[in-house]
């Protein structure tokens, strides 16, 4: 009997000992994971609940392959280091209950929009203009990016899109007959039937506005064979090398390429700009509404830090210009027009 008790006691003791060891191991793992989290900011996925509401990271988001030339992954890493060293910003983050600042590189346009729509997602975003228009989250525009070819109209920064062709295209007019405008229907028909080089499906100046322009001809102007190149420069190179004969990009990109490569052949001899679209707003930098600089100390500190950083490090001559939500009203209308036309066209096609 005594022996049996002893055995049970040993077993109980053994279970207790095992439970204690497991508990300790779990505790060590928790501590280690916490330490790792402090060492390397953990970027929670868009649908994850977050680490802790009170001690989460302040997340700055951007697209992995930025459409704006110069805003590369490496550049965002430099920005991250700069912001982390900003004492005032760190103090403001701490006051607002954030344990630090993290950079989130979204896989693509839809991933970025999804993360923006998540209430616990991104707090500050370098986003394409269309992403700001399409997202349902509560963001406010603080800055607009301004490249060397972008022009300011009033207090907003706009850039136009262009539809252009190379000299192998049947609509090419050469340098002599440029005064004669090519009928919109001809452009729209070719746009819809031939391969066209485009920046991306979420580019305002490089896709939405040109499509809307061509919709006016009555022809469904969505390209049947779109080649999304990622940037205006790539579009120009694609058309110039005659991989495709027609392209759509932001205004000024052709001149940029010409200047950068020191091409001596006059542009008019090899490329022909058929249409220039109305100005579309350039990409914004948006904050969550609660961090609007007018109302939030953290928002103000972040705005100051970004301004300071852009004054030191301006990739591709890009500047930050103060802006607000009003700059994107026209784009929102254009987007609505585009979706309406697209749905109508799809309905016709379905019939």
């Amino acid at each position: 009997m005594g022996a049996s008790k002893a055995t049970r006691s040993w077993r109980l003791n053994g279970d207790a000992r095992t439970a204690a060891v497991v508990s300790w191991l779990a505790a060590i793992l928790v501590v280690l994971s916490g330490a790792a989290g402090r060492l390397v900011p953990q970027i929670p996925p868009a649908d994850s609940p977050g680490v802790s509401e009170s001690r989460r990271l302040f997340l700055v988001g951007h697209m992995r392959s930025a459409t704006t030339d110069g805003l590369s992954e490496d550049w965002f890493r430099r920005l991250h280091r700069f912001l982390e060293r900003d004492q005032a910003l760190r103090a403001a983050l701490d006051r607002d209950g954030y344990r630090g600042l993290g950079m989130v590189s979204a896989e693509g346009f839809n991933d970025l929009v999804q993360r923006m729509e998540d209430p616990r997602g991104l707090d500050c975003v370098f986003c394409p203009a269309l992403a700001y228009v399409r997202q349902l989250g509560d963001y406010t525009v603080v800055f607009q990016l301004k490249g060397p070819n972008d022009r300011g109209i009033g207090k907003y920064i706009l850039h136009s899109g262009i539809i252009f062709i190379n000299s192998y295209h049947p609509l090419f007019r050469g340098t002599r007959a440029k005064t004669e405008e090519v009928p919109l229907r001809l452009i729209a028909r070719d746009f819809a039937s031939s391969p066209v080089a485009l920046i991306s499906s979420y580019s305002a100046a490089g896709y939405i506005y040109p499509c809307n322009e061509l919709f006016q001809s009555g022809i469904r102007a969505l390209p049947n064979q779109p080649i999304f190149c990622g940037s205006s420069e790539e579009v120009v190179k694609m058309v110039l090398s005659d991989v495709v004969e027609m392209g759509v990009c932001e205004q000024g990109a052709i001149e940029d390429v010409w200047q950068r490569q020191d091409i001596r052949v006059p542009v008019g001899e090899v490329l022909d700009v058929l249409r220039t679209t109305p100005g579309a707003p350039t990409d914004p930098v948006v904050f969550r509404r609660r961090f609007r600089p007018a109302d939030s100390e953290l928002g103000r500190r972040l705005k100051d830090a970004l301004t300071q950083f852009f004054s030191l490090d301006r990739p591709g001559q890009i500047r930050l210009e103060d802006s607000d939500d009003g700059a994107f009203k026209g784009l929102r209308d254009a987007w609505n027009e585009f979706t309406t036309h697209t749905e109508e066209s799809n309905a016709v096609e379905a019939r």
Partner: protein, 411 residues
């Protein structure tokens, strides 16, 4: 001479070795260039994969920025490629130059230009999705090839010189070997003559003793007994013949001549020596008429008499032999301004001009194979010159020859 030849050969060998070594180095360098060029081509073609250019029906994969980055990485540090042009194959349209993207704009004749470059097709499986045109920088390769060519020429030249030199030496060696063989034969002949001389001397020496005994016996017989007249006459005849033998022996002093005893010089009458020499070789005379012109008074000559006899007998013997028992031999001695001049003229066939200048050279004989050693005149000339005189010959083919020996008169 031999040492100089060896030095030249060593020099040639060193040059040839150097050239071979340099050629080896250059071939290695050329191989390395070609290997690295092949590696470059492989590396460049590998980098411009279908994932960068896209297949012919895929235009969206193409990224100019990525290609330009690759180009900057691969080409600026490359020693073998001046430029590359990358073309993408587009379904239904053919090739389009995508790197540099403005190539077809800047060069409207781009197809013609690219035809001058080396084309390497880019393939994925059986699908050709593009091509890379290499404008190779072959200057280094050409330099190496030029150097190889130059060195090869140098090597061939050096080898040709060596072969030529070796040939020349081999020819000289063959010539020398032949000459040595001839000299060997001549030496054997001389040895035979020398042996004959020795034997002659021994025979004379051995014959003299019994003849002396004969003479003594004859004299004893003549003085001791009263002999009948016919026997006495016969004995007198024997004694005279023996006396004649000794007189001849004494007269010719042949034993000394053959043994070559070195006696001192003495004042000699050249005319007498000439007659003794003539008598010495009379066995070869045959039907030849010998005319000894009356010798005027002439001074004596300080000389080795037996040597002068050797000279005269040698020339007279030659004359007898070339006249072959017919003709005339004229001997004369004269005094001329401190010289005693001896002339020995024959009416033989004469000497060809081609032979005339060589007849005093050693082992030169126009009667090779007929017993002539080619040394007689050479030795004669040496003896005359040793006495301070000269010997020369004048000859006319078909009419005969005249040997003139000039000896300094004794004062």
């Amino acid at each position: 001479m031999r040492r100089v030849d060896r030095t030249n050969l060593v020099l040639f060998a060193v040059i040839a070795l150097f050239a071979v070594f340099a050629l080896g180095m250059l071939f290695w360098l050329k191989g390395r260039f070609e290997r690295e060029r092949a590696d470059t081509i492989a590396s460049v073609t590998r980098h411009f994969s279908a994932a960068v250019l896209g297949l012919p029906d895929d235009l969206e994969t193409l990224r100019f920025a990525e290609m330009e980055r690759l180009h900057e990485t691969l080409i600026p540090h490359n020693a073998y490629v001046r430029a590359i042009v990358v073309a993408k194959m587009i379904a239904g349209r053919g090739e389009r130059v995508v790197l540099p993207f403005f190539y077809s704009v800047v060069h409207p004749d781009w197809r013609k230009r690219l035809a001058q470059f080396d084309r390497y097709a880019l393939r994925q499986g059986d699908v050709e999705y593009g091509a890379i045109y290499f404008d190779f920088d072959n200057s280094r390769l050409h330099s190496v090839r030029g150097a190889i060519g130059s060195l090869a020429v140098l090597l061939v030249l050096v080898l040709a010189l060596v072969v030529r030199r070796l040939w020349a030496q081999e020819a000289a060696l063959t010539r020398t070997t032949v000459e040595l063989e001839e000299k060997k034969r001549e030496l054997v002949e001389l040895e035979r003559l020398s042996l004959a001389g020795q034997l002659s001397a021994n025979i004379f020496h051995d014959i003299r003793k019994p003849l002396l005994n004969i003479r003594l016996d004859v004299e004893e017989i003549e003085g001791a007994a009263a002999l009948p007249e016919p026997a006495r006459e016969r004995l007198g005849g024997i004694r005279r013949h023996v006396e004649l033998f000794f007189s001849i022996l004494r007269e010719l002093n042949i034993e000394r001549f053959i043994r070559g005893d070195q006696a001192g010089r003495e004042f000699v009458n050249v005319g007498e020596l000439l007659e003794r020499a003539c008598a010495l070789v009379r066995y070869e005379r045959g039907g030849i008429e010998v005319r000894v012109e009356p010798a005027p008074e002439h001074p004596p000559v300080l000389a080795f008499p037996y040597r002068l006899i050797q000279v005269f007998s040698n020339i007279i013997l030659n004359a007898y032999q070339v006249m072959a028992g017919q003709g005339r031999l004229t001997l004369s001695v004269a005094a001329e301004d401190g010289w005693v001049v001896v002339k020995i003229a024959d009416t033989g066939p004469g000497i060809e001009p081609a032979h005339l200048e060589h007849i005093f050279e050693p082992f030169y004989s126009t009667r090779q194979g007929e017993g002539g050693s080619g040394l007689g005149l050479y030795i004669s000339k040496g003896i005359v010159e040793e006495l301070g005189g000269t010997i020369r010959v004048a000859s006319e083919v078909g009419r005969g020859s005249v040997f003139e020996i000039r000896l300094p008169a004794a004062r």
